[in-house]
Amino acid sequence: MNQRFHLSGVIGCWLLAFGLSLATAHAAMLPWSALQGKTVLFVTGDTPAGAPDDDALVRQHLEKLGFKVKTVDESVSATAAQGMSLIVISSTANAHALGTKFARIPVPLFTWNTFDYPNLGMTGSQLHRDFGVVDPTQHYADSFSVLYGYGANTTSAISKAVGLKPQLFGTLYLEPGTVGWARPGPGGTVIAYFDGMANDKAAVFTYERDASLVDGRAAPARRVGFYLADGNFHLLTAVHGPAAKDPQLRSWAIGLKLFDEAIRWAASQPVPVAPYDPAALSSRIARVAHGRKVLFVERVNAGEGREADEHTVAHLRSLGFDVAIADQTDPPTRAAGMDLVIISGSCSKYKLANKYIDVKAPLISLEGLMSDGLHFSGRDRYVDYGEHGEEKESDDPPDNYLDIVGAWNPMAAGLHPGLVKFTHHPGILKWAAPLPDAIVIATLPNSPNERAIFGYPKGAVMADGFIAPARRALLPFDNPSFDDLTAEGRALFDAVVLWSISGDGS
């Protein structure tokens, strides 16, 4: 009891200190120079004599990067992390001995202890389904397959720093490898997959602070899962000498660079998000809306949804936008000169055809069933996209809640992680399964793979290899939903609009 009290007190102090520090923290990735002298708690374990163990090399490398490293074993108290800038956990540490001691610590954490992922809430708890280790004995073919990674995300801070592309790269040097993989939850960001493993086994993944972990908690600080094992840090790919002049080899041998940049991201402070405040949000939109042109594409004089369309347009105009209305049959040239295109759920997917797919302006779809055509998701209806509550098209009952998993992003309007009442009454809610380059804000309740609100940054890799010409976002409306939005639902709408017109960053 005393220990618990002590730990919560320590965490409370950290949270206070952390919160105060946010005011001056604005960078998603600090420059290396700013990380010099930062402290790292390196948690390791024993390995039998002669067994692979690169912990000493890792420590040397971290020190070379400028960190001050304190190496401890798995029996260390969680309080040892106090004052540290980063916790690094090696796979040599005993995951059972580690338990959940670092799970609630608001210090960034970087780990390649695959079996510790569930303790930290980074994956589910079931071995082989939620996480696993590939090794050359039991998975001989896969131990070669895992030498190849695939750039899943190209727009995260880590991806940009590495120059990650949607293509193969070498994870480890050309020997049969032992690696850990994971299936993170919807609040996580998959940076890279292993090739040839159904594109669902993440090699590198992250959770931003306040992103929802698999166990439902919000990440207390940044979290990174990396594919290493005990003794293969020295095999992380890199290229030197004459080979380094070859841009293809440079973008191939990026294992070490990926490690470094993921470390840098973890050790950097997140960008703070404004707390939930609808009035303040409206003010922020109003500041940028003046003079901005929005094309609202609808089925003019639609039956169901006509009033909601009118009210949506009125709301946008009330925020200061200059809104033009286009019928679904109008040519897409109507989007010329627009700052934002919004496609209403009243549009017919069939009649809209493929208009606005490549529009240069940001685009928000209020119709999840258009996700395939807009390259938001794959094309397998009810697998890649679908809806809840549609009597004849869904087994799922009507709903009016969303599960916020991306509270860290401004699109979440400052709402806390977890369930939020989106509409006053249960009804139809749309969803889609975007690619890893999307920022997922909310899922449908109890359906973590059915993402209700998400956005693709400009340049993101969308379905079918389509590159987002500008920001793209989905809101899970049905035709009349806008009129039924709660204050939180309206804030989410506004936040997505604001994000969509707010530049090219993520």
């Binding site: 374990g45 995951a95 280790v133 004995t137 040097y173 020997e175 032992t178 290229v239 380094a244 002049k245």
Partner: protein
């Protein structure tokens, strides 16, 4: 290691080692790293004179061996150990190399700096090339490219000569403590540079430095040898580190500490002891009275194979390309030399019968 969760990866790796044949071989050799190399003395030849042996070149048919020592090239009959001939030189020799197929040898001399070109049969000087880039410290011949590279550690330079014309083609200023050179035969020359823990790479067509390959955990590289087929560079460092570099990637993917310190020279050869022996091996020897070897088990598997005691330091070493073994010039310790006048000896080592079975 008490739980499955703790160390699944290392647990798996141990099982992997037990199961993979080549890795098992690797493990065997790894365990043998502190053991004696399975080598035996085939020939032991006393070198005439007291000067250090700067280079050894086995003759193309294996019956003779050429030795650069003092102010002469000495030729020994391998079977008898007798001196078969000498070629007087105008100055002390610093290094020697030869194109056995063409029957041409090259000897680097100091004061004045020059390269003497000589015929192997008959043994005679055919020409002399003046060097203008400083006193030579090492030679490297790329016979296929008709190129002779002359390193000058004192002059911080690397010069390229056309062996067909004897002309100096180009030179490169290369700062640092330059040691052994190696070439991939595909346009890149590597130089061990003790001034930084890295191998300098040189584009031989343009004679420009094209970068460096870092060697984490291998400090003061001195020995260098190339497997031109596997594109592996074997590096021996003064701190006892041994590294295997994938030159396609410029990546040192294997570190094999051998605990034998001191500056060395390194040679690599496929089937160094004949077709039934090792697949390949990189041998290093120098200051310390021990020969060390990195055994090639496969193109992705190398292991520290052990050491072999020498009676003193090794002044030079060379592999017989026909697989007859490894030549070493072994100098007694200075104490032994002063007390007994013990000479430098040539040793030809081969694999102990049955060692590779």
């Amino acid at each position: 290691m008490s739980t499955f969760a703790r160390n699944a990866a290392s647990y798996s790796m141990r099982r992997f080692r037990r199961c993979m044949p080549w890795l098992a071989a690797c493990l065997f050799c790894g365990m043998a790293s502190a053991a004696t190399l399975p080598l035996q003395m085939v020939h032991r030849i006393v070198v005439q004179g007291t000067a250090p042996v700067r280079a050894i070149v086995p003759g193309p048919d294996g019956t003779q061996v050429y030795v650069a020592s003092g102010r002469e090239i000495q030729v020994y009959d391998v079977a008898t150990g007798g001196l078969a001939g000498t070629l007087p030189l105008p100055a002390p020799v610093l290094d020697m190399t030869a194109d056995g197929r063409a029957g041409i040898g090259y000897a680097a001399l100091a004061a004045p700096a020059r390269v003497v070109v000589f015929g192997l049969h008959p043994l005679r000087i055919t020409s002399t090339v003046r060097l203008t880039d400083g006193a030579p410290s090492a030679l490297l011949l790329d016979a296929a490219a008709h190129a002779l590279y002359v390193e000058s550690a004192a002059g911080a330079s690397l010069a390229k000569f056309d062996t067909a014309t004897g002309k100096r083609v180009a030179a490169l200023r290369l700062e640092g403590a330059l040691r052994q050179m190696a070439t991939d035969g595909r346009g890149t020359l590597y130089v061990a540079n003790m001034s930084h823990a890295a191998i300098d790479a040189v584009d031989t067509a343009r004679m420009t430095r094209t970068g460096a390959i870092p060697l984490d955990g291998c400090t003061d590289p001195t020995g260098l040898a190339m497997d031109q087929v596997g594109r592996r560079l074997f590096v021996a460092c003064r701190d006892g580190g041994r590294a295997v570099v994938d030159t396609d990637m410029g990546f040192a993917f294997q570190q094999l500490p051998v605990q034998v310190h001191g500056a060395v020279r390194t040679v690599f050869g496929f089937h160094p002891f004949g077709a039934s022996g090792w697949k390949g091996g990189a041998f290093s020897a120098g200051d310390a009275p021990q020969l060390t070897a990195v055994r090639m088990n496969a193109f992705i598997s190398y292991s520290a194979a052990g050491t072999y005691p020498l009676d003193g330091s090794c002044e030079s070493l060379a592999l017989d390309t026909a697989g007859r073994g490894l030549w070493l010039a072994v100098a007694p310790t200075s104490a032994a030399r002063s007390q007994t006048g013990a000479p430098v000896e040539l040793w030809l080592l081969s694999e102990t019968a049955g060692a590779s079975k």
